[in-house]
Structure formats: C-alpha cells, structure tokens
C-alpha cells in the first residue's frame, strides 16, 4: 500500500489533475458509449414496432 491517508491518495503526489483526469475521462467515455449503444437499440426497437403496427393496420 503506497498511501498513508485518503487525502494523500487523492493528491496523487501532485499529479491529481493528470491522473484523475485520465481515469475520469476514460470512465466517462466508456459510460457514454454504453448509454449511446443502449439508446440506439431502444429507439430502433420502438421504430420497428411502430412500423409493424402501422403495416398490420393498413393491410
């Protein structure tokens, strides 16, 4: 264990901005990508079901 206290951990030996910036941005990008993939599927399924409904009512 390299850390004597919680504040020392967050200070990252003076590199807090760079280390937490890198890890934070990577996590944020991955989370956003997952949300985008999920939304695309949800919207697509809704569209396809709507199409299917309108087809069955017109024919």
């Amino acid at each position: 264990m390299q850390w004597n206290s919680v504040s020392e951990f967050f200070a990252m030996g003076g590199y807090a901005l760079y280390v937490w910036g890198s890890f934070g941005l990577t996590a944020a990008v991955m989370l956003i990508e997952m949300v985008v993939i999920r939304n695309r599927r949800t919207e697509l399924l809704r569209d396809l079901r709507n199409e299917l409904c309108s087809e069955s009512t017109t024919s």
Partner: protein, 246 residues
Amino acid sequence: MKTRVIHWFKFSSPQNFYFLAGRMWPWFAALAAVLMAVGLWISFFVAPTDAQQGQGYRIIFVHVPASQMSMFIYIVMAAWAGLGLAFNTRLSGMMASALAPTGALFAFLSLVTGALWGKPMWGAWWVWDARLTSELILLFLYLGFLALQSSIDDPRRADKACAVLALVGVVNVPIIYFSVKWWNTLHQGASVSLTSAPSMASTMLTGMLVMVVAFWMYSIAAALARVRSIILERERHTEWVKHAVE
C-alpha cells in the same frame, strides 16, 4: 429464447449472428467489469510509486490499453472490411462499422491521456512527434471511415468504399507501432516487448496487462452490442426482424 444446437458456419448470416451476439455480449461486459475492478485495484493500491515519475506514471494503466486497442481495433476492422470485399458477405461490413466508433473513441482517449501525461513529464500537452502525429492520423482515419459510411445512402456501397479506406489506412498502424524505433521521438519506447525483459516492476506490468485484457473485453462487448442494432437497421424489411422485434 429457445436453446439450439450450435452450427458455427451458420453464424456468418446476419440473422444468426444477431442472436449469437445477443447471447455473448453480456458475458464479455461482465468479464470487462470484473477485470477493470481488479486492474484498477492493482493500478492504485498494488503497483509501487515510480522512481522517476512518482504517482504521475499511473496514467499508463489507461493510456497503454487505450492506445493498443485503438491500433488493434483498426486492424480487426480492416480485416473484416477486407473479408467483405473478398467474399461479399454482408456481416463483414456490419462488423467493420460496429468497430469503428469504439476504435475512434480509444484513439481519442489515447491522445488525451497522452496529453495529460505529457504536460507534467515533458512540459507540453502536444508535440509534433512521430508517435503522436501518427496516432492523430489514426483518429482521422477512423473519423474518415465514419464520415464516409454516413455519406453514402446505400449501405452495401458504403461498405465497399469504407473497406478500401480501411485497407489503405492499415499501413499507418505499423508506422505508429515502430515510430519510437524509426524516429528519434520524445515518446518513450515500448514498455512491453516479446524479445526483451520488461522495463518495469512486475506488479506494474501485471496491472497494465489486466487493464489491457479488460479493455479487450469491453471493446468486444461494445462492438457486439452495437452490431445488433446495425443488423436490425439493415435487415429491417425482412421477415425474421419482424418476428424478432415482436
């Protein structure tokens, strides 16, 4: 879903691959989550402080996985694209376009985490160094691929044009990889190589490798989850899609 006997050759059809991908991606996502938890724990609590760079070196645990994923995804994308050109299979183009956004994101993360590392260590966010410049070109290749894909309405024609772009651009990947050897760069050399002993503490190396595998699992999960939407979009007028969404 009903359980079925697996015949592997069947999965080259988009219909069968849709269901296969649906069953596989949650496993890859779960593996990614577990490995990332382990990797982060090693990154911050097991790996020692670096003698030269103090705690700042810990950026390596996201920078290296993101960078190698950006290069590897490009190679896989180009391979799918090449398969599509050679055999005219529909799934190939779909897989190539499912991989491109994830690859582009990793190229972006590689550049930004690199800048965040460069600033404290080199004193500059950016230098026109061979490694950095060729990685920037990789990001532009991904963006070009995505732009070309969305600019052609017919997806099959878009696949062919994008496949040519992807295959031509693949020459950039060895340039990125060997740039630190071929040119006198500010960027440090390879941390891991097959021919020499690793130039870092073994716990640092373990942490990095765990994160690399975690990023692999994440990328596979993301590409499989995304390709399902692409398959449904492109096959939307077929009977099986109508049954699948009901």
